[in-house]
Amino acid sequence: MSHKDTLLSRAGTSLCILLITGVVMTGSAFALTNEDCLGCHGDKSMSTQKDGKTISLYVDDETYKQTVHADNGCVSCHVEAEVAGDEHPFPMTPVNCESCHEKIGAIYEKSAHGIARAKGDKLAPFCKDCHSQHDILKPTNPRSTTYPLNIPYTCGRCHQEGSAMTTTHELNKHNITQNYSMSVHGKGLFESGLIVTAVCSSCHTSHNVQKASVPTSSVNRDNIINTCNQCHVGIVEKFKKSVHSPLVTKTDKKLPVCIDCHTDHSIAQVHDKDFRLIIAKQCGNCHEHNSETYLETYHGRASMLKGGERTAKCSDCHGSHSIMPAQDPSSKINTANIVKTCSQCHPNANLSFTTYLTHATHNDKDKYPYLFYTFWAMTGLLVGTFGFFGMHTILWVPRSLIERLKAMTKGH
């Protein structure tokens, strides 16, 4: 063999290697196109049996072309199929979105859903359970499962009484979807079609969903103010300056956060009857004595009857987010402001009027001696009067019976 031949042979080998390498590198382009896959999966009748159920393996190409993944080939997700060529192994390993959506995948793995799935919980949702499979649309697309208007339905598939999830999991909160629909957020969404309103994921996050008991959860007590602050910036600003804020009050006691007064899923419009009627109860969770004594007064008594939402509630006098103790000059019940506060309902109120005890009780002798003694004087009067006349009546009964019988026998 001549040197020339050797050179030629070498060049040929190099070309071959180059060609082969090129084929391998651009494999997908040459090997499996979406058309190849649709050759089988474009058939509507294509299906398989799993756990006794028929599962369709049909992929609607028209729909797929409108999805966010329209430019991706089937094999970019179904990687196993690529290597296989004509007949891919069956069943295939589930699609791993994380290969592209790496960051989200990492977050998901640490979420309540991800942890449950890692533990083998078959009902724990994976990407496709919320995002669907071949019809994933942008969250801004009204047809997307993650479009704000659809999120309550997407989450509600599991987080609702009667769902498959409830057969193996205990629900901490009940009637979440119904309560949400009736809430100020739910009404905003469903009645007004307000897509900037809070939906499930606004508070719970979408991928980092955690139980409220987890310290890092967005709905944990310690984080809830920041969560609400995503939208209610002005309110949170006021709140942070109020007596309820940990920035103002240094205490070991539990300070209230948004949900303690407003509740969570059933959060109502503050002017709503239903919300106004629970204010005294909500404040009473911490301010028990004040709530009880309020209920003894006219405002409290009337609030228990139909139409009672109209009478003064805690927040009407004390304020809500910027609430301050009475001795603070900015407090609504500070002497400087109280006449104005009472005047909201009682026009022409004066300072003397404001000495009315809105949390009066006749049971506190030291604090309210006048009320205590008035009550017991009145009680004495009642007991005395009823004692005497009650006795009078009881003694009269047999005598009156005898008289009646006498009259009857006389009559006949």
């Binding site: 007064t297 009337a302 009857l305 139909k306 022409n348 003397s352 009027f353 009650g390 009546t393």
Partner: protein, 282 residues
Amino acid sequence: MSKTPTMYVERFSVFQRFIHLLIIISFLTLAVTGMALKFAMEGWAVQIADLFGGFAVLGALHRACAVITFFYFFLTMILLYTTWKESKKSLFGFIFDPEGLVPNLTDLKEMIGTLKWFFGGKRPYYGHWIYWEKFDFMAVFWGIAVIGSSGLALWFPVLFSKYFPGYWLNIATIIHSDEALLAAGFIFTIHFYNTHLRPEKFPLDPVIFVGSISVDELKHERPREYDLLVASGELDKLITRRAPTPWLQRMATVFGIFIVTTGSFLVVSIIITMFKYIQGAH
């Protein structure tokens, strides 16, 4: 049909009966609407508020009936004034008339006599007004003064606080509500029993609605009045054969029993509630 026609004597004039009708309507409404607020935490009170359409309606009715109360108080004053003028007595003589409405020594004696009678003694020689009736009448002065004045303070709290400390409204609330409890409790038990529910009268004494009673009844129930009328010759002037019309008697029975029943229901609810609290307090 008895052989001798029954004779009747007028006990209450049309004006007096009208006043009592106003009292019944306003007092019962005041009691129902007021007690619903006093016992707002009870189911029965909530039902009353629902039935009337809310606490605002209860409040409006309560105030309307307060106006009726002040009105019948005024009518009672007119009644007393005309009665005084007709009696041709001095003011002192009218007020302290032994047969009048102001309690006197005879009433004390009769009360002791009554207690003896309960245990088998002789029935006292009662006159036109018996002490328990006088007590009921005195409530017009005592009750309206106390409940009325405290009620006015609560009705116009801003005005009231211009002249008195605001916290007196809290005192007024206790007085108003407990005095009302006394009044309602008294009328719906003691007055109802003394006048209507005791076996001799059960279920109703319609005289306050029909106005007249038979002479036989008068003679039996109020022998002193009867004897005084005979002695003065007044009986012949007052006596009439005209019995209350059957229509009036039926109306009186239906209305009277309705009122007595309603009041009784309210007082039973209150008593059950009070027992619940007394038990709960221990």
